[in-house]
């Protein structure tokens, strides 16, 4: 068969593959099979978190456009309120179409929001939502959300991890109506200072590596790795040096100043829960964001009772899975991009039915997972205490 005929047949075969049509028979089935393998290879989802990270950069780079402020009709204004799949990401959000527990980079194509096919009704609701977002009292808006559901049972093999600290919070500590939560892994280089303001009500920072000095204008509770079992109060305005394994916990609004006076970067696992929007907050200047999980805004579905906040470290060998702890109200995880030997790794996860994530890479990963649940729920082995 002439080469051109074979080339035509292969081209038709490939066009059918990429467009989802039924591929025709080819004169060279072996070559067609090879082409099919390559096309299948190209359909992999991006790593968890990449979609959201790039979306945030696009938003930053895309606007504002006019004298430092968005123009009244600038679409950037809307982009700021949309997630990377077209779903609203603001307190003025619409019904989140993706049920089930949220995990970093989670995306279910079956629930993709097709705005154009949704028609004018969706557009009208979007515009209305934007108007609500600009209301000074928009926090009172009732936000539909389906992000917070009871996680499914863990499927073995999974890693339970080791609790690095455990906080019991009295009833009423969690946001009473809607909430946003951010959980991330960030680093700061040596000889750098950074400030951040927490709107409260809850925040913790765990030092995964290195050391850093922290000072707050609010009262902190400090967990010291070399003296575990009890949270120590630190008065406002008092600088405190945190080393690897230490943590701080803060309730209420306060400003924090971080200073890395060491010669190595400091790595921090950061969590905060707000009763406002902005669960997808950008890390303060001076920090580098490596991984992040967030709920931008959701209705509270956890009970109004004492809560326990647990941070676990999970060493996740290739092929093992991590899932929300059974019974947890809310849980996310972030993965470090260094392994225990200090080597750079690229965390790669595959999402499994039921909400678990599998380490599909070839290297063991260090994962930090937090969970909120009832104080009566059995915890992973480790330390515990109350602030």
């Amino acid at each position: 068969m002439p080469e051109r005929t074979t080339a035509d047949a292969l081209d038709h075969f490939l066009d059918a593959l990429v467009t989802g049509a039924a591929p025709a028979a080819t004169s060279d089935p072996e070559l067609a099979a090879l082409a099919r393998r390559y096309v299948a290879l190209g359909k992999a989802p991006a790593p968890p978190g990449a979609r959201e990270r790039v979306w945030r950069r696009v938003i930053r780079q895309a606007g504002p456009r006019h004298n430092g402020r968005p123009a009244p009709n600038d679409p950037t204004l809307l982009l700021l309120r949309l997630g990377p799949d077209g779903q609203p990401a603001s307190p003025a959000g619409l019904q989140h179409p993706r049920p089930g527990p949220i995990a970093p980079g989670s995306r279910d194509p079956a629930f993709r929001w097709r705005a154009w096919t949704a028609g004018l009704l969706v557009l009208a609701v979007l515009v209305a939502a934007l108007a609500w977002a600009q209301r000074p009292d928009n926090l009172a808006l009732v936000i539909p959300a389906a992000d917070l559901v009871a996680p499914p049972p863990t499927s073995p093999p999974s890693a339970a991890g080791q609790a690095v600290f455990d906080i019991v919070l009295p009833a009423g500590s969690l946001p009473i109506a809607a909430y946003g939560v951010t959980f991330d892994y960030r680093t700061m280089p040596p000889q750098r200072t950074s400030s951040e303001a927490s709107a409260g009500p809850l925040l913790f920072r765990f030092i995964a590596a290195g050391q850093v000095q922290v000072q707050s204008d609010g009262s902190l509770a400090i967990w010291q790795a070399d003296d575990p079992g009890e949270w120590q109060p630190v008065p406002a305005g008092t600088p405190h040096l945190l080393t690897a394994g230490d943590a701080i916990f803060l309730q209420g609004a306060a400003s924090l100043t971080w200073t890395n006076t060491a010669t190595t970067p400091v790595a921090v696992i950061a969590w905060q829960m707000t009763d406002q929007g902005g669960g997808n907050s950008v890390v303060p200047a001076g920090w580098t964001l490596h991984d992040q999980a967030a709920v931008h805004m959701a209705i509270r579905e956890y009970p109004d009772q004492p809560a326990r906040l647990v941070l676990r470290r999970v060493d996740l060998p290739p092929g093992t899975e991590i899932a929300p702890p059974p019974g947890s109200w809310l849980s996310h995880f972030v993965a470090l991009d260094q392994n225990a030997a200090g080597e750079v790794v690229a965390p790669m996860f595959g999402k499994l039915p039921g909400g678990a994530w599998r380490n599909v890479g070839r290297q063991e990963l260090i994962v930090y997972q937090y969970s909120l649940d009832s104080p009566g729920t059995p915890a992973a082995p480790g330390v515990d205490g109350s602030p």
């Binding site: 080469e3 051109r4 074979t6 080339a7 035509d8 292969l10 081209d11 490939l14 990429v18 467009t19 072996e30 070559l31 090879l34 082409a35 390559y38 096309v39 290879l41 190209g42 359909k43 992999a44 991006a46 790593p47 990449a50 979609r51 790039v54 950069r57 696009v58 780079q61 895309a62 009244p72 009709n73 600038d74 679409p75 950037t76 204004l77 809307l78 982009l79 949309l82 990377p84 799949d85 077209g86 097709r114 705005a115 154009w116 009208a124 979007l126 515009v127 209305a128 934007l130 108007a131 609500w132 009732v142 290739p318 790794v345 690229a346 790669m348 595959g350 599909v360 070839r362 290297q363």
Partner: protein
């Protein structure tokens, strides 16, 4: 809760005319992010650089909003991607030709790691990296889901030339894979 009517909106709120392009862009992002990401990642061999490139690509696409509904959307988007990848690579490696990107050592995991821990994928990508640059690009654009005419537009060649190029690319891949150990156990 009654929704506010349009005439009740505050000054400065986006109008319906502005909502359309933003939603269209978000849809474009949703549809093509994975393909763009892996195209960049595979060409640039680095996750962070690939994310930088992807953000640049989508920012440029957003700036050109009216084109969201062009029939040639995918080829237009991947033309941007092609140009951005070249610029990124040249900026990072000003002394090296673009073709050298194929032989860069991998500082982080490669595509195969993300797909599944499967030896077959590693072999397929190893073979892909041994192709000449133009053949490799045809296969990578196929992997990104583009049709033959779209690839022709991106590479500024005739569709007939692309057909011959991809035939030779896959034929060469078959030869390379046959020379690599373990092909007998793969489902060729």
């Amino acid at each position: 809760m009654p929704l506010p009517q349009r005439d009740q909106l505050h000054d400065g709120a986006p109008t319906l005319e502005a909502v359309g392009p933003a939603v269209a862009f978000a849809e474009l992002y949703d549809e093509y992010f994975d393909a763009i990401y892996w195209y960049c990642r595979n060409r640039l061999n680095d996750a962070a650089t690939a994310e930088d490139a992807a953000s640049t690509i989508f920012t440029r696409a957003f700036a050109a909003g009216p084109r969201y509904h062009d029939p040639g959307l995918r080829s237009w988007l991947f033309t941007i991607a092609h140009n951005v990848v070249i610029n990124v690579y040249r900026a990072n490696r000003p002394q090296a030709p673009l073709e050298a990107a194929a032989s860069l050592p991998d500082p982080v995991m490669q595509l195969e790691d993300a797909v599944v821990a499967d030896e077959e994928y590693r072999r397929l990508l190893d073979a892909l990296r041994q192709l000449p640059a133009d053949q490799r690009q045809v296969v990578e654009l196929r992997m990104a889901g583009l049709t033959g005419p779209e690839i022709a537009r991106i590479m500024h060649r005739s569709h007939g030339a692309i057909k011959m190029l991809q035939l030779r690319a896959f034929a060469r891949l078959r030869e390379i894979l046959a020379e690599l150990p373990g092909e007998e156990s793969s489902h060729a």
